[in-house]
Symmetry: C2
Subunit: 205 residues, 2 copies
């Protein structure tokens, strides 16, 4: 595999390399210190560049972190786009369980990074906005699924798809953060089964 920097002039190659060094150092510093305690000084020290260099490549700490989040966030977008066309209630139940597991598992696979993401969402409006983008994408997708299930006469007509999708995603998201922050407090499978049962069947007989 040839690196696409091969053809570039040495100057641009160097610049790319500097940027990469800052990203790598940034990731390490964020994982070690969390979002708030991480400083540009720590990053440039680890990357072995001058202080001002960081500001050449990134507007500020928030932007550096957003760049580092991007890959992970795209994985969430992919999970959100999963197709959903159940023909029966049983099939719906299985589909939903599968998607919940993908969502929670992705967060747990990147647990250390997700902890920092959670902190960053609380501190930086720009990063919060990025997460809201993912949330709304999920909710929109789930709304479509609910309308489909209603058209198939599988789901109750009297529930508002947008509100129901939102409430459902909120539960999922919060359990995700709970699992990320308190590993081991709950069993993943228990959470998935209970969430899905609640969603599909409700609490009362």
């Amino acid at each position: 595999m040839t690196n696409n920097t091969d053809q570039l002039p040495a100057r641009q190659q160097q610049a790319l390399k500097t940027r990469q060094k800052l990203l790598q150092a940034g990731k390490e510093v964020f994982l070690e210190n969390g979002f708030q305690k991480a400083t540009i000084s720590q990053v440039i020290k680890k990357a072995k560049t001058g202080y001002g260099t960081a500001y050449v490549y990134f507007k500020n700490k928030d932007e550096l972190f957003i760049t580092l989040m991007e890959d992970l966030m795209n994985q969430f977008y992919e999970v959100a786009e999963m197709p959903f066309k159940p023909q029966a209630k049983e099939e719906a139940y299985e589909n939903i369980k599968k998607q919940v597991r993908l969502f929670l598992q992705l967060a747990l696979d990147e647990r250390d990074m997700m902890k920092v993401v959670k902190e960053a969402i609380g501190v930086s409006p720009e990063i919060e906005e990025k997460w809201y983008g993912i949330r709304e994408r999920f909710i929109e997708r789930i709304s479509v699924d609910i309308r489909y299930a209603q058209a198939q006469k599988l789901a109750k007509e009297h529930l508002d798809p947008a509100l129901t999708a939102r409430g459902w995603f909120y539960s999922n998201e919060m359990f995700m953060w709970e699992l990320v922050m308190n590993k081991g407090k709950y069993q993943l499978d228990d959470v998935i089964v209970n969430l899905t049962r609640m969603y599909t069947g409700g609490l009362y007989e």
Copy 2:
């Protein structure tokens, strides 16, 4: 109504007054600027005290804000403690609707303050902890309610009370923040009805 500072020596009265001035000024500064942008300098300027005085009465900005939140947080604790002893599914449904409305309405009545609280939760671990205390109190109370409903054969036995209570509260909490942050985007009654229907009856036929 006699003020209970009447009997105190003048020196302590003065100290109390200074503290009150800082609290009042703090509230104004937080509401005007939000949590992060609020500074001690702004507070002491508005309170007309010296810089160091603020640190005599409060360890830091977080502690000042926590003191300001206390009343509001206690109101949430009161809502969490509401009794719940339904004899039938219909009664349960009405009880639940009532409690959801109290919860959401309290947040909306203190909307401006709740916006700052949300920001502060994201920034300050101490304040986050305070909110988690309220959340866990709600969840514990709801767990008890679910167990009671299960014992009455009103609620499904196969749902885990702790997990179900948690998922249910998460939906409520997130809708609360949504209503607080985006006033008017959703109709309060629509949210309440949909949440409660989902919770009690589930999505599928």
